[in-house]
Amino acid sequence: MEAASAMPATGDELLVVEGVRKYFPITRGIIFQKEIASVKAVDGVTFSIKPGETLGIVGESGCGKSTLARCIMKLLEPTDGKITFDGRDITGLSRSAMRPIRREMTMIFQDPYASLNPRKRVGFIIGEPLEVHGLGTPAEIKRRVQELLEVVGLNPEHYNRFPHEFSGGQRQRIGVARALSVNPKLIVCDEPVSALDVSVQAQILNLLKDLQDDFGLTYVFIAHDLNVVRHISDRVMVMYLGKVAEIASREVLYREPKHPYTGALLSAVPIANPDIGRGRAAVVLEGDVPSPVNPPSGCRFHPRCPRFVEGHCDVEEPPLYSFGRDQVATCHYPLERWPMTAEEMRRTGTKTSAEPLPA
């Protein structure tokens, strides 16, 4: 069962994503639009999620995590690949065929100021999904909305208020209530707490955890904050330039990362403890993330990687290697231990003997 975490296994997965790609064309010309290049936002991502699980997705801005979320939700049509939700292949479904499935997967957005219609009352915002799917009479919907307000920790009497009357954290609670309204199986959370202050962020994280326990929800949780992802996830996927760098269970990923990029990310996180934070030699990556229009050859991380091996990493693209239970990483020269400094990373580095997963 080693490969189960990354490869689509049969049976009980709620969501299976296989080789999903999303290319955005760059065109030239007005009438005859000629495609001259494409932004490879997501380039062959494979993973699966079991019911009741939380998969965290981390990566720097521009790594394709939000595009991937939108592909899963079918807000964007993937260029290639297959998405299976709850046993049904939803890749080619039309908008109308997709509609009943939308009841089972909902989304929480990043910006609680932009994602609520300022001209609608809170009751309408939360009840709209119910209305769209024809779930109940107006009276039933109202009752359900008030119940939802209570569930997310808001006053049910605030039913008739407008979004501007709420603070950022309360607005995000409204977003959570709306996502919950149709009793979904899967909630895709796209940076749900990154716009919030620390103390309010903790409230929302606790709320999401409680709701998962109460309603058996499955989350895809996208964030750039590794602390937050570690707190909420069961498994974590690290993305770099549209590709999977590493997928592992939370404990394993944070204790023994295999991919040098995961290592660099972990060592870049400031630690709220002056005794630990100051002494350590962080792995400071040079430069910026390259453009996804023209990604580097071979391993996409090679131009910034401390253990780049010339003639190998820039030529041969690393497959997903399997490292024991529940850990896969795309690196020819994985980290032997952790923590490591950039210097140590450079010095050592032997080719992995791990088996690549079957394509």
Partner: protein, 340 residues
């Protein structure tokens, strides 16, 4: 004499809805080569404190009180022309959002050169070579060609480097950085923080680092102010603050932080929302959200007083020392791991 000494700084804004008291009596001093961290949530007054020192609040509706002594001269009493001579030369500032704080219609070279020419009597050629030198110092690759690029041609991290270059171009004695890494990715944040550290070592500047991230404070600051609702609630040396936090709000901040190095099932959350500064609560500003609230907290504002153990560790809370010691030890046991 301290480089900058701020005494009882007060700022309020007249608005249509009433007077917003954004800073209510802040005291601190910054020495050469030191880093002061100011930490707090949005709206706590940390940015306004620094904007007041720099004289950057709108004149029309701002009331300012107290003193900000810069090398002995009060910045708040200076004429605009005197202030302009200090600002951008001896004191400079890095703003939070590198996307909006550069002028999009001028090349970065022109903007950097302008900063030099405003304060130095040099030729354009000299100013340009100085600009180039700084761009190299902050690690912009191919600086010779990139100096003639426009801001939109740079990534977020690179723009923030340009901002840092601009802030350092006149060798300031004090650099005020207002959330300099908040808009950036962790890897870029690590680059920028490392860069600021090296530059501080090279130039010997003092830094005031405003942030909401306790992690950033722990990594870079020497002394820390914790602000809540326009007030300083705790003020201490950084190790002291993290080992012996004394204020319930600081405990709340530390407890609500998910951490890389320790596991907690549930984060300790601070209930409720920060108060409106238009109508702040009576007594201690934190009392409506405080789990240790007592009757006295609702009526009397506590003073910012030193703890018995350490005269340099100030805190603004009515709780007795014994309870504080006990609670802070409990929090540390739950959240912090020993240094390895």
């Amino acid at each position: 004499m301290a480089l900058l000494e701020v005494k009882d700084l007060r700022t309020s804004f007249r608005t249509e809805d009433g007077v917003v008291r954004a800073v209510e009596g802040v005291n601190f001093s910054v020495e050469k080569g030191q880093t002061l961290g100011i930490v707090g949530e949005s709206g706590c007054g940390k940015s306004v404190t620094c904007l007041t020192i720099m004289g950057l609040n709108p004149k029309r509706n701002t009331l300012t009180g107290g003193e900000a002594l810069w090398k002995g001269n009060d910045l708040l009493a200076m004429k605009p022309s005197e202030l302009r001579a200090v600002r951008g030369d001896e004191i400079s500032m890095i703003f939070q959002d590198p996307m909006t704080s550069l002028n999009p219609v001028h090349t970065i070279g022109r903007q950097l050169i302008e900063a030099v020419l405003l304060h130095r009597d040099v030729t354009k050629r000299v100013a340009r070579s100085r600009a180039l030198e700084l761009l190299k110092a902050v690690g912009i690759p191919r600086a010779e060609t990139r100096i003639d690029d426009y801001p939109h041609q740079f990534s977020g991290g690179m723009r923030q480097r340009v901002m840092i270059a601009m802030a350092l171009i006149n060798d300031p004695d004090l650099l005020i950085a207002d959330e300099p890494t908040t808009a950036l990715d962790v890897t870029t944040q690590a680059q920028i923080l490392a860069l600021m550290k090296t530059l501080q070592e090279d130039f010997g500047s003092a830094i005031i680092m405003i942030t909401h991230d306790l992690g950033v404070v722990a990594e870079v600051a020497d002394d820390v102010l914790v602000m809540y609702a326009a007030n300083v609630v705790e003020q201490a040396e950084v190790h002291d603050l993290f080992h012996r936090p004394q204020h319930p709000y600081t405990w709340g901040l530390m407890g609500s932080l998910p951490r890389l190095e320790t596991d907690v099932e549930r984060l300790t959350q601070i209930p409720g929302q920060p108060p409106s500064l238009l109508r702040p609560p009576n007594g201690c500003r934190f009392h409506p959200r405080c789990p240790y609230v007592m009757e006295v907290c609702k009526t009397t504002v506590p003073e910012l007083l030193p703890t018995q153990r350490d005269p340099d560790h100030l805190q603004k809370c009515h709780l007795d020392e014994e309870t504080k010691e006990r609670e802070s030890a409990k929090l540390l046991a739950a959240t912090m791991v020993e240094a390895r």
